[in-house]
């Protein structure tokens, strides 16, 4: 009875075209006695929970839904159809790098020996997981040009936290933690939030006319009390800081460090390495640059790479190979992998290494795997900043990121970066006559327009974004970076074909025409979605953050 009444309530007013558009909350579909599970018979004596637990026994169950399996499949499948996704089309959300998430990544992360590995299993039974971590670490060290790395941070913001902890620990070891962190006004919100939770005062750094770091201002503001500059490069405008080496020099002259937010690393991989241009510590976002899925908001993974002098401060534990100096890049996993390939009669996994520390003859001298020490976690690191999360990090994401690197190889990684930059510049070229380009500096992987021309007609960036939905695209990032009034921040990534780009460009041009001819159409968009614009003010004023069972009216009469 109750269920019928709920359905009636939900469909009051205009009835949606099909029930797949009317799916209620899972709780509203529940009725007592339905089951979607069957436990095997208990093979040990049953126990009396009330007797075992006493006062700690739960007497009132939580109001979880009761449904059958087909209803659950339909419920979540219907919900899924209300989402936009990369798999459906272009998702040009600037700063988020919404690239293709390869399915082989998902497949390999679910291989039983990896998916079911307990974090406390003896290291002798976890060598496979450790070798994956080791190889990914080495690849990321090479890609960033840094000396060492920790994969522990759970996401980009936690990577920032870890990086600033390293900086603080190093300054402390020099006798003074210092007081402030400089952050450009174009930065992601996580940067100042991170500096604050690390106990630093945030000092804003105004961008110059090109949207980059104002060297004169930087020189004035950096002093002996400055711990670091948190720099995003390319910046949130998609602009490479071409005076980056001077930035590093100015900081280093005052004993301050250069932190790089690696959110935009998709513009650099294989073309330039932060370690080579003076960065002391940086984080990566595996869910951006390295194709691990965004999953509706996570999980991410935010490895932190740094220079040698920060190594003693890395979070514990650190992965080391028996007989090796802690966490230093070694040739051994290369040799091991090549030995494996040789044994299988296939092409060596690695080409001749060509950077310092990995001499090219190390491959030819590859020794049998048996001579390699086992990998293990080292906990005894007295200068460490401590743990930033339990266990070792989001290992499931490491597997996916490594699968992506293997699928690309050095040539694929470089081509990926080139295509990402090519796509952004193509969009810029094709739209710059209809949308205002506030900064004319060359674009890397993303382009930022402003709504200046459209705003004159009363149409804002947020309206254009909503109208883009009607054309079948996810909106770009709206009103960010904050140094651009009414920003449209577009990051196509390398995953878009010329055909998809042209469709997007045509949609944006068409919307620009609509702004001129029928602005109301744009201001009231979207018109094609299951729900129209939602009342966010009401949501915040009287927050309803959970379902509650309807109050049962006492029976009349």
């Amino acid at each position: 009875m109750a269920a019928v009444e709920q359905i009636e309530r939900k469909t009051t007013g205009k009835v949606r075209p099909h029930q797949t558009q009317n799916e209620g909350l899972v709780f509203e579909k529940s009725s007592p006695g339905k089951r979607a599970y069957k436990l095997p018979p208990l093979d040990v004596p049953a126990v009396d929970p009330a007797a075992l637990l006493g006062d700690a026994h739960r007497k009132t169950p939580g109001l979880l839904p009761e449904l059958s399996e087909i209803e659950i499949i339909r419920h979540f499948t219907r919900l899924s159809t209300w989402n936009y996704a990369i798999d459906l089309g272009m998702y040009p959300l600037g700063s988020c790098t919404m690239k293709y998430n390869p399915r082989v990544n998902e497949f390999v992360s679910r291989i039983e020996g990896l998916a079911e590995a307990h974090p406390y299993r003896p290291e002798s039974l976890a060598q496979g997981a450790l070798e994956i971590i080791d190889l990914l670490q080495k690849c990321l060290i090479e890609i960033t040009g840094m000396d060492t790395i920790t994969l522990q941070p759970a996401a980009g913001a936690q990577g920032e936290f870890t990086g600033i902890l390293l900086i603080r620990a190093w300054h402390e070891s020099q006798g003074n933690a210092r007081r402030k962190v400089l952050i450009p006004d174009s930065a992601h919100g996580t940067n100042p939030a991170t500096a604050a939770i690390c106990g630093y005062t945030v000092e804003n750094l105004k961008s110059n006319a090109d949207g980059g770091i104002d060297l004169a201002a930087l020189e004035r503001q950096v002093d002996e009390d400055t711990a670091a500059l948190m720099l995003t490069n390319p910046s949130t405008l998609g602009v490479f800081e071409n005076e980056i080496h001077k930035i590093a020099d100015i900081l280093h002259a005052k004993g301050a460090l250069l932190y790089m937010d690696g959110a935009n690393m998709n513009a650099l991989v294989g073309k330039v390495r932060p370690g080579d241009f003076g960065v002391d510590v940086m984080h990566l976002n595996l869910h951006k640059t390295f194709s691990t899925p965004h999953g509706g908001g996570g999980p991410g993974s935010g490895p932190v790479a740094c220079k040698k002098f920060l190594e003693p401060f890395l979070p514990t534990p650190v992965l080391v190979r028996a007989g090796n100096a802690a966490n230093s890049p070694s040739t051994e996993s290369w040799e091991s992998a090549n030995a494996d390939s040789a044994a299988a009669g296939s092409e060596p996994m690695f080409r001749a290494p060509s950077y310092p520390g990995l001499s090219s003859d190390s491959v030819s001298k590859a020794e049998p795997e048996a001579s390699l020490g086992a990998l293990h976690w080292e906990y005894d690191r007295p200068q460490s900043v401590g743990r930033v999360r339990a266990f070792y990090g989001n290992t499931g994401m490491f597997i996916r990121a490594l699968a992506y690197i293997l699928a690309n190889g050095p040539d694929g990684l470089r081509q990926t970066t080139e295509d990402a930059v090519l796509n952004a510049n193509y969009i810029r070229k094709k739209l710059e006559d209809v949308y205002e380009l506030p900064y004319k500096t060359p674009s890397m992987h993303e382009v930022v327009f402003s709504d200046k021309r459209q705003a004159a007609k009363g149409v804002k960036t947020g309206d254009i974004a909503k109208r883009l939905i009607d054309y079948g695209f996810h909106p770009y990032t709206v009103s960010f970076p904050m140094i651009v009034q009414g920003a449209l921040m577009i990051e196509p990534t390398e995953s878009e074909s010329l055909e998809e780009l042209d469709l997007f460009i045509e949609a944006m041009r068409s919307i620009a025409r609509e702004v001129e001819e029928t602005p109301e159409l744009v201001k009231t968009a979207p018109h094609s979605t299951r729900v129209s614009r939602l009342d966010e003010v009401q949501a915040a004023r009287k927050p309803i953050l959970r379902w509650r069972p309807p109050v049962v009216e006492p029976e009349r009469g």
Binding site: P45, A117, P119, I132, L406, Q415, L545
Partner: protein
Amino acid sequence: MRYLPKSQAEREQMLAAIGAKSIDDLFAVIPAEYRLVRDLDVPRQFGESEIVEYFKAAAAKNATDYASFLGAGAYRHYRPVIIDALVQRGEFLTSYTPYQPEITQGTLQAIFEFQTMIAELTGMDVANASMYDGSTGAAEAVLMAMRVTGRQKAVVARTVHPEYREVVHTYLRVRDLTTAEIGYDAETGRVDLKALEAAVTDETAAVLVQSPNFFGTVEGVAAIAEIAHAKGALLIVSIAEAVSLGVVRPPLEADIVSMEAQSFGVALSYGGPFCGVIAAKEKYLRQMPGRLAGQTVDSNGYRGFVLTLSTREQHIRREKATSNICTNQALVALMATIFLTVYGKEGIRELAEHNLAKADYAAKTLSAQAGAKLLFSGAPRFHEFVLKTDEAPAAWSQRLLDEKIVGGVELSRWYPELKNATLWCATEVVTRAQIDAAAKVLAARLVEA
């Protein structure tokens, strides 16, 4: 480069449209001395079958056919297959944070359902959309309590997961905030209430305990709450084993609950990704970290969901935000939501009771062997227990490994005073035969010379 949807001709066509002679023109802004003019020294490009082979080979080095009694914050429960079938739908997998609610109602409604289920199970009023994991959730809960109370000190029970405590310490130490640790009762393995009472002062922002605690015993939450509240401190209860809530009374007296939801259908994956979540009394809502989905209506009056109360968050408040968290564990929270829908109101209880029964049998059987005894037997437990053996764990654990059994975790690693003590876990996937086999190995001491 099978992921790149462009032909060389199309690239050239695009370059011509841009007015660039070559792709290098687009990178000309990078100072020449920093440009990488060689290949990255990473593995060569692999075919898909080679990628699968590489990871299968790695997986094979991680022995899989072992029975396991490992728990300690990462729990092996059966994962219904529909979880992976549903979360691998591209619309969930390849969507992002629902900043555009009109085209992310699926994610938003699922988060709202997750928040409801967590609130129901924990007995709290509200829950957020997720934190990274149980350890960072605990640290953020302590910081939240400090914002609520305006106080700067925390009291942490030593029976909280040792790695959670380390993380809390990392988060607090950087801001010169202090923690005091309090010990446990030798008979029950529960918080030493006298020590707690002595440690909590009117400068204490929060008392952090875990229940079931790291030794598997259920804390007396009401008594702890009374001590905390008497001094105006908030009580934070950390829950590392979420399935316990099917049969263990929720910590209703707590002000904040920080939970690790990995047990709800999330693979062990060598320690992550897991799924933290913070739940709390409604009056502390404005100090909560992380995303929240809320119900509202659209311009036609239809029910819909949006991310709300964002003025707490970093993208709005920057350095004044409640936390720097941005990306959370959304897809993992969805796994938990599906898991809880599969088991439902009755199933979560039945599942928890199976765990209780397995652990009870395992504790009795293992501790019945000569030279073995159960520690902390004076308090109720869920599915973990501490076994003390005369023989050093290193000796018998090797014998167990020879029989393809991974025994309990040695506790002296974190509790030097607990020599020869190991923490065992028996979930519903452990069989009676495995328990009996482990008992047999424990009993079989080395033949004395």
